[in-house]
C-alpha cells in the first residue's frame, strides 16, 4: 500500500509536468497545425536562463521568474523568426524545421555552457514526504509541482475562454480568414500562442529538471517525448485532453517503472503511444476528424 501511494503521488506529480509540456504542444497545434519539436530545447534554454539568474542573485524564485519570462520571449521569437514561414508549409517540412531548431538550440547551449561545470536546477521545496498516520504521503515539492501546473492551466484556460484576447486567439486559430476580416491581427495572435506555449514549456522544465542529475542541453529530450505522448493520449486538439492525458500517462508510466523497472519508462512510453495511436489516433478528448484528401 505504501508503494502504491508513493507511485500514485509520483505519477500525479510527473503527470502534471507532462501535462504542462502537452499543453504547450496543444496550444501551438491548435493554432497552426505545427507540432513544435523544439519545445523541449526551448524549455531547456529557459532553464539555463534560470540557472544564470539564480547563480547571480542566489534566489530560486528570481530564477523561476526569469525562466518563465524567457520562455514567453523565446516562444515568440521562435515563431517570428523561424515558424512564421514554416506554418504554411506541408507538415513534414515544419517537423524538420522544428528538428533543426532543436539541434541548433541544444548545440548553442552546449557552446555557451561548457560541460566541465556541473549545473543543477534545485527544487523549490524539500522532497521529504510528509507523513500522515505514519504513511509517507506527499512532499512539499510534489504539492508545489501539482499546484503550480494547475494554477498555470487555470490561468491559461481563463485567458483563452474568458478574455477578449483569448477570444481573438481562438478566432485566429479556427477561422483565420474570418478573424482577419473582423479586425483580428491574426499573426500577432499566433505569436502570442507560441509565447504562451513557451511559458508552459519553461514551467515544465523548471519542475522536472530538479529530478534529473544534471542540467545538460539534452535534458528535456525524453520529457518532450513524454509530453508528446500525453498530448496524443488526450488528443492534440484539446487543452483539457492535454491535462487528462498528462495525468493518465503520468500514472501509467509511474506504475510501470515503479512495479517493473525504471528502465522501462521510455519503452513503456513507446508502447503507450503506439497503442493509443493505433486504437484511438484522435485521442480521448478530440472530436473525430476525417483525414483530409
Amino acid at each position: 500500500m505504501e508503494r502504491f501511494i508513493l507511485f500514485t503521488v509520483n505519477g500525479l506529480a510527473f503527470g502534471a509536468i507532462y501535462a504542462s509540456v502537452a499543453l504547450a504542444l496543444v496550444i501551438i497545434w491548435r493554432a497552426t497545425r505545427v507540432l513544435n519539436f523544439a519545445q523541449g530545447a526551448q524549455a531547456v534554454a529557459s532553464a539555463y536562463v534560470a540557472w544564470v539568474v539564480t547563480d547571480l542573485t542566489g534566489s530560486y524564485w528570481l530564477g523561476l521568474a526569469a525562466a518563465l519570462v524567457s520562455g514567453l520571449l523565446l516562444g515568440a521569437l521562435v515563431q517570428l523568426t523561424v515558424f512564421r514561414r514554416a506554418e504554411s508549409m506541408p507538415p513534414l517540412n515544419a517537423v524538420i524545421v522544428g528538428v533543426g531548431l532543436l539541434i541548433f538550440i541544444e548545440a548553442v547551449l552546449g557552446m555557451i555552457f561548457s560541460i566541465e561545470h556541473t549545473r543543477t536546477i534545485d527544487a523549490a521545496f524539500g522532497s521529504t514526504k510528509l507523513r500522515i498516520a505514519d504513511t509517507p504521503l506527499v512532499s512539499p515539492q510534489d504539492l508545489f509541482v501539482i499546484g503550480s501546473v494547475l494554477a498555470v492551466m487555470v490561468a491559461i484556460g481563463w485567458l483563452m475562454t474568458k478574455t477578449p484576447v483569448g477570444l481573438r486567439m481562438r478566432a485566429a486559430a479556427f477561422a483565420p480568414d474570418t478573424a482577419r476580416l473582423m479586425g483580428v491581427r491574426v499573426p500577432r495572435m499566433l505569436t502570442l500562442g507560441w509565447a504562451l506555449a513557451g511559458f508552459a514549456g519553461a514551467l515544465a522544465a523548471m519542475l522536472v529538471l530538479p529530478t534529473s542529475a544534471e542540467l545538460v542541453p539534452q535534458a528535456m529530450d525524453g520529457v518532450f517525448v513524454l509530453g508528446f505522448t500525453a498530448a496524443v493520449v488526450g488528443g492534440l486538439d484539446s487543452p483539457v485532453g492535454a491535462v487528462v492525458g498528462g495525468i493518465v500517462s503520468g500514472l501509467v508510466l509511474s506504475y510501470t517503472s515503479g512495479y517493473l523497472s525504471s528502465d522501462l519508462l521510455y519503452p513503456a512510453t513507446l508502447v503507450l503511444l503506439i497503442a493509443v495511436l493505433l486504437v484511438k489516433p484522435e485521442g480521448l478528448f478530440s472530436s473525430v476528424q476525417a483525414r483530409r484528401v
Binding site: V95, G100, L101, F104
Partner: protein
C-alpha cells in the same frame, strides 16, 4: 549514347562504377587518421540512401533511425563472437555473413515498425519514431543480460588477410573497404529500385494516397515496403558502424545519430540519391573541418541545425535542388511536400 539513354541499368552501373572508383581510391589513398572518416562517410551513405527513399520517395519520416542502426550493430555483436579466433577476431567472410544477417533482422524489425507507421501521418509518425529512438537505452538496460546495458557489447574486428597484411593494410583500412563496398552495393540496388515499379509505387503513394489507391495500389503495403527498405539499409549501416566503432552501445546509436542522418538527407535534398551523397559528405566534412579548427565540440551540430532550418525554409530541394536549378534542369516532378526530385 542512345544505348546509355535507353538503358537505366547500364547508366546506373556506370555511375555506380565511377562512384565506387572514387570511394575505393579514397580508402587506398587517405592517411591512417582519415580512414575512419571514409568508413563513417560510407555508413552515412548506406543509411541515407534508404532514408531518402523513405522520406523523399514515400513521404514518411523517421526521427528514430538510429534505433534501426542499433538493431544492425547489436546483431553483429551477437553473431560474430561464436566464430572468433583466439584473438577475438573473425574472418572477412563471417563479417559479410554478419552484415547480411544484420540486414535480415533489421528488415524484419523495420517491417513491424512500418506496419504501425503506415497508420500514422506527418507529425504523429515523427513523434512515434522519436519515441522509438529514445526507448533504445531503456531496452538495453532492462535486458541487461542480452545487451549489457549502457556498456554495450564489443563487435569483433575482421582479420586482415595475409596478402593485404603484407601490403601494409591495417584493420581500419579493411573495415573502410568493407564499408565502402556496402555503400556501393546499396547505391546500385536503391538506384535501380527507385527507377523500377517499386519506386514509382512509393512515389504514387507519396504524391496522392487516394489516387494511388484508385490505381489499385495498397497504400499501407507500399508504406511498409518503404519502411522495410530504409530499415534494411539502416541495419547494414548500423552493422558497419559497429565494425568501425568496434562495439554497439546505446549512446553511439542515440538521438544525435538519428537527427544527423535526417539532417544529411534534408540538406542534400530529399528523395535524391545524389542529394544523400552531398548531405553525407557535408556532415562528415563539416565535423572534420570544425574539429580541426577547434572551435567547439558543438559547432558542427549548431551548423547542421542552422543549415537544416535554412534549407527547409529557403530551398526545400536541398543542395541537389540548387545544383539542378543551376544546371538549368527543372525538377522533373512538380515540387512535392518534401521538396525536389
Amino acid at each position: 549514347m542512345s544505348v546509355l539513354r535507353n538503358s537505366t541499368l547500364l547508366r546506373h552501373l556506370l555511375v555506380t562504377a565511377s562512384f565506387a572508383l572514387v570511394l575505393f581510391l579514397a580508402v587506398y589513398l587517405v592517411d591512417d587518421f582519415s580512414v575512419n572518416q571514409v568508413s563513417t562517410l560510407a555508413v552515412y551513405l548506406c543509411v541515407c540512401f534508404g532514408l531518402t527513399v523513405l522520406i523523399g520517395g514515400n513521404g514518411q519520416i523517421s526521427l528514430g533511425h538510429a534505433a534501426l542502426m542499433a538493431v544492425g550493430a547489436y546483431t553483429m555483436a551477437k553473431f560474430l563472437p561464436s566464430y572468433a579466433d583466439e584473438f577475438g577476431q573473425v574472418s572477412v567472410g563471417v563479417v559479410l555473413a554478419g552484415l547480411l544477417l544484420a540486414i535480415v533482422v533489421t528488415t524484419a524489425v523495420g517491417a513491424v515498425i512500418g506496419l504501425a507507421a503506415a497508420r500514422l501521418r506527418g507529425p504523429y509518425l515523427a513523434g512515434a519514431t522519436l519515441a522509438l529512438g529514445v526507448a533504445v537505452p531503456g531496452v538495453t538496460t532492462y535486458f541487461h543480460d542480452t545487451f549489457n546495458g549502457e556498456q554495450g557489447l564489443p563487435v569483433a574486428s575482421p582479420v586482415v588477410p595475409e596478402s593485404m597484411a603484407s601490403a601494409g593494410w591495417s584493420i581500419d583500412r579493411l573495415v573502410a573497404l568493407i564499408a565502402v563496398g556496402c555503400a556501393v552495393v546499396v547505391l546500385f540496388l536503391v538506384a535501380n529500385l527507385k527507377r523500377s515499379g517499386f519506386g514509382r509505387h512509393l512515389a504514387a503513394v507519396r504524391d496522392h494516397e487516394i489516387a494511388a489507391q484508385l490505381c489499385g495500389l495498397s497504400v499501407p503495403r507500399e508504406q511498409v515496403k518503404a519502411f522495410a527498405l530504409s530499415a534494411a539499409t539502416a541495419g547494414l549501416g548500423g552493422g558497419v558502424l559497429g565494425l568501425v566503432l568496434q562495439g554497439a552501445n546505446p549512446h553511439s546509436f542515440g538521438l544525435v545519430l538519428s537527427l544527423t542522418v535526417l539532417g544529411a538527407v534534408v540538406i542534400g535534398g530529399l528523395g535524391s540519391l545524389r542529394g544523400a551523397l552531398w548531405g553525407s559528405l557535408i556532415v562528415v566534412l563539416l565535423s572534420r573541418v570544425l574539429s580541426e579548427l577547434e572551435v567547439n565540440d558543438n559547432a558542427p551540430a549548431a551548423a547542421y541545425g542552422l543549415l537544416l532550418m535554412i534549407v527547409m525554409l529557403a530551398a526545400p530541394g536541398g543542395i541537389q535542388g540548387l545544383v539542378a536549378r543551376l544546371g538549368g534542369h527543372l525538377p522533373r516532378r512538380s515540387p512535392q511536400p518534401q521538396g525536389g526530385n
